[in-house]
Symmetry: C2
Subunit: 153 residues, 2 copies
């Protein structure tokens, strides 16, 4: 934690974790703002994006698949998918492979929405990091990959 003003201005002598916290706050805010246009939360976005990935692989998708893939806890996944169903963005139906499981699919509306949402997020992303030039962005991302590798599992 900075020995100077810990919250007002980002400084290079702030700890990495503190800078991370600030970036995150700003990024989350932007994310929430973009997603609110689509009427979905970050969690729901992650689930839909994950679902899209499974559908691209042509894999029938259960809630458990989404849990494993997104690392979102299963109760949250259960509730969020019911909300998404209520919003008409996904369809839930009993799996024919495993009668305990629920198969999740996009509705037509849901598929369209996630396409658009992903584009919007990509744009927001580009804008957020637009102060870095190509080289800096590459460096930033490679360091990020290092940190992630170091801290997961």
């Amino acid at each position: 934690m900075s020995r100077g003003s810990p919250f007002k201005h980002a400084k290079a002598d702030d700890s990495a974790g503190f800078l991370l916290w600030k970036i995150t706050t700003l990024w989350q805010r932007k994310l929430a703002e973009v997603l609110s246009e689509f009427g979905i939360t970050q969690t729901q976005f992650a689930l839909l994006a994950s679902l899209r990935w499974f559908e691209e692989q042509q894999q029938p998708t259960s809630q458990t698949h989404l849990v494993d893939h997104t690392k979102i806890d299963k109760m949250t996944v259960s509730k969020s998918l019911r909300q998404l169903e209520a919003a008409g963005l996904v369809v839930r139906e009993p799996s024919d492979l495993d009668s305990r499981a629920t198969r999740i699919r996009f509705s037509a509306r849901g598929k369209k929405l996630i396409q658009k949402a992903i584009v919007a997020i990509e744009n927001a992303d580009a804008a957020f990091f637009s102060c870095l030039n190509k080289k800096q962005l590459t460096v930033y991302k490679s360091l990020a990959v290092l940190i992630i590798g170091h801290n997961q599992g």
Copy 2:
């Protein structure tokens, strides 16, 4: 968002925002784990750390000061401070400068706890970023500062 597996492995061709989201998740998890030993949330930690900063400046601190400083919304600040008061970590008393305002101070226990918590967080921070050497860390932080500067206000 990656065109490959979007959630399993961090890759340098993932978008910066997606990598940020992953790092953040990992960092928040670690943070929550460390803070749970002290029985406080991240929000409460931020408030206590901010309060410590004000007390170091020898400034009498109101809830509004904490709101401005931490950018946490005022209702959350109000509730969190009441919890912290109930936990015996801070003292709330009417301000003598402004009779609408509440002055916030550490209890002895609160002061001790935040010292220790800050050390614990600093250690967690060092461990989290320990895969970067000194130079890399400096680069990472300077890019972070750029990004923050670009995106706030």
